[in-house]
């Protein structure tokens, strides 16, 4: 798989590649390198940004960028973690215009702050939705935290 070779040569030990199957590859990177790597995949290697996924965890919000290589029958997922409580993440909209809506969605659903996004406004939630209430966060993590604080 030459795509993986190219990523290895270019980024060396910044990336941790997990080949799950012939069609599915997961690449873990630190949050500072996401922009370089996703930009490289989109701009140089010609990947298409299929979508991004946010997943709430105890320590932060895990972000997955699903990049599709349509000519190679491969979906490469770039995985990173935005740490709680700041949840800062550099925006990708300046290099991939398609990231605009999904970043707004992840922002309102998980509270991730995409630094540099041109208009981080509400997309799906109503205008009168309570500020600071993130519907896709897992309630169990929040209540755990409250319990520890009480103790």
């Amino acid at each position: 798989m030459n795509i993986l070779e190219e990523i290895r040569t270019k980024f060396g030990n910044k990336v941790n590649i997990l080949v799950k199957s012939k069609k599915r590859v997961y690449v873990s990177v630190s949050i500072d390198d996401v922009k370089d790597i996703v930009g490289y995949l989109f701009g140089i290697l010609g990947a298409r940004m299929s979508i991004a996924t946010g997943i709430d965890t105890r320590t932060g919000v895990e972000l997955l960028y699903h990049m599709a290589f349509d000519k190679h029958d491969l979906v490469l997922t770039v995985r990173t973690m935005a740490e709680k409580p700041e949840l800062k993440m550099p925006t990708l909209t300046d290099i991939i215009p398609a990231a605009n809506w999904i970043e707004r969605e992840i922002h309102e659903m998980f509270g991730v702050d995409f630094v540099g996004h041109p208009g981080l406004e509400r997309l799906l939630l109503p205008d009168d939705w309570q500020v600071g209430e993130y519907p896709f966060r897992k309630k169990s993590f929040d209540s755990e935290k409250e319990n520890t604080e009480k103790e």
């Binding site: 799950k20 298409r48 940004m49 299929s50 699903h66 349509d70 215009p97 999904i102 799906l124 939630l125």
Partner: protein
């Protein structure tokens, strides 16, 4: 000063079947800027899916969309199968392919009918919808339902196609092909439709790539992506068909791609019905396993992608759904600016937007927007322009 004149459309209006709010800034008749606000249909399905079992989720995601109801279960079951590499029986692959393609035909015909109505060609509307009926009849024979077929399950399909039904199905499929070819020729050769849709609402190839649009919208702009060919799944690698790609990116190209695709879909269905192997239809999966999986399907509107993470229980830990309109709707900002307001309706419709898919989540808007022009007015303007062109061509 120019920005003060705007025409709000929505959130509720008859132009589109679903609630959405468009704001067109105009200078005279020309659209100079546009905004879109979605969210009126948000149902929180991704969150709901986490509290239901994998079996139940198949039915849940089938309710995301009413038109292409199989698209989401198709992608979802593949995502779950991807978690631990479940292989499904050959016969099930063929049955899945048949359902997927039948849905493409009826969805594309539905759109062609609506587009015909917007430009004032109600004959196209009546004919396209009439020819959509036999497709729904086929669905009834196969699944017992005209829509929401409930055919999919993790590991296979829920109902078999009976041998005794196949000759009848092939006969109806042949009729559908005849209708589709006739309709395609009639629409694509019509001078008024050509004058009305060519060169309007162009999405350039570069914008199509930057905005990562999918499906017929991408293929009309010369971006040759089709999940069926590029990431073969189900039985798509065992049938032969053409990937329809146009290069102009205007409304006409989008219509042409959809019309020509219906004929390719008929070919696929016929090959599947003829070559379908004997055997079981279900791999009888008891456990999903731990891990994550991605499932893709080329729905009538483009790529549907589902991401599922499993922690080994019966419930998904995270279920991400991305419908094609989520990527396609933002492209209208590129296509509608610089066009006349009488074309705006048609250009917006050309994307074949599906909002309940895009939002997957019900919220009612409390704001009362003062409506300067209703959707009806826009459809009327759109139709009047066609009449003018018709007059000019005949005269």
């Amino acid at each position: 000063m120019a920005k003060e004149n705007f025409i709000p459309i929505g959130p509720f209006h008859p132009l589109l079947e679903e609630p959405e709010y468009f704001k067109f800034y105009v200078e005279g008749e020309k659209v100079i800027d546009a905004d879109v606000r979605i969210g009126y249909n948000h149902r929180g399905i991704e969150k709901l899916a986490e509290s239901k079992t994998y079996e139940q989720d198949v039915f849940l995601v089938e309710r995301i969309c009413g038109i292409c109801s199989t698209s989401h279960p198709f992608a979802f079951v593949q995502a779950v199968e991807d978690i631990s590499g479940i292989e499904i029986p050959e016969r099930a692959k063929y049955i899945r392919t048949i359902i997927g393609e039948l849905e493409r035909i009826h969805s594309h015909l539905l759109w062609v009918g609506l587009a015909g109505h917007f430009i004032g060609y109600n004959t196209v509307f009546m004919w396209a919808w009439k020819y959509r009926e036999p497709v729904l009849d086929i669905f009834e024979v196969i699944s017992g339902n005209r829509n929401h077929y409930g055919m999919f399950k993790v590991g296979g399909v829920r109902r078999d196609i009976l041998e005794k039904d196949i000759p009848g199905l092939l006969k109806t499929v042949n009729e559908v092909e005849k209708f589709c070819s006739m309709l395609t020729k009639a629409v694509m050769d019509d001078p008024v439709i050509q004058a009305r849709t060519k060169g309007i609402g162009i999405l350039k190839k570069k914008d199509a790539i930057d905005l990562c649009v999918v499906g017929p919208v991408a293929r009309a702009s010369g971006v040759d992506i089709d999940i069926r060919k590029d990431h073969p799944y189900a039985a798509y690698d065992k049938v032969s068909f053409e990937k329809i790609v146009m290069k102009d990116g205007d409304v006409f190209s989008k219509a042409a791609v959809r019309l020509l695709e219906t004929i390719e879909s008929v070919k696929i269905i016929r090959q599947c019905l003829k070559n379908m192997p004997e055997g079981v239809i279900d791999a009888d999966i008891r456990e999903v396993g731990i891990g994550e999986g991605i499932g893709q399907h080329e729905a009538p509107r483009g790529e549907v992608i589902h991401y599922v993470r499993s922690n080994g229980s019966n419930y998904p830990e995270r279920h991400k759904i991305r419908a094609p309109s989520f990527m396609n709707v933002p492209s209208f900002k590129k296509t509608v600016i610089g066009q006349t307001i009488s074309d705006a309706a048609l250009i917006t419709a050309a994307v074949d937007p599906c909002y309940c898919c895009t939002e997957r989540m019900a919220v009612v808007d409390r704001d009362t927007n003062k409506v300067l022009m209703t959707g009806d007015d826009l459809v009327r303007m759109c139709q009047e322009k066609t009449e003018k062109i018709k007059g000019a061509i005949k005269g």
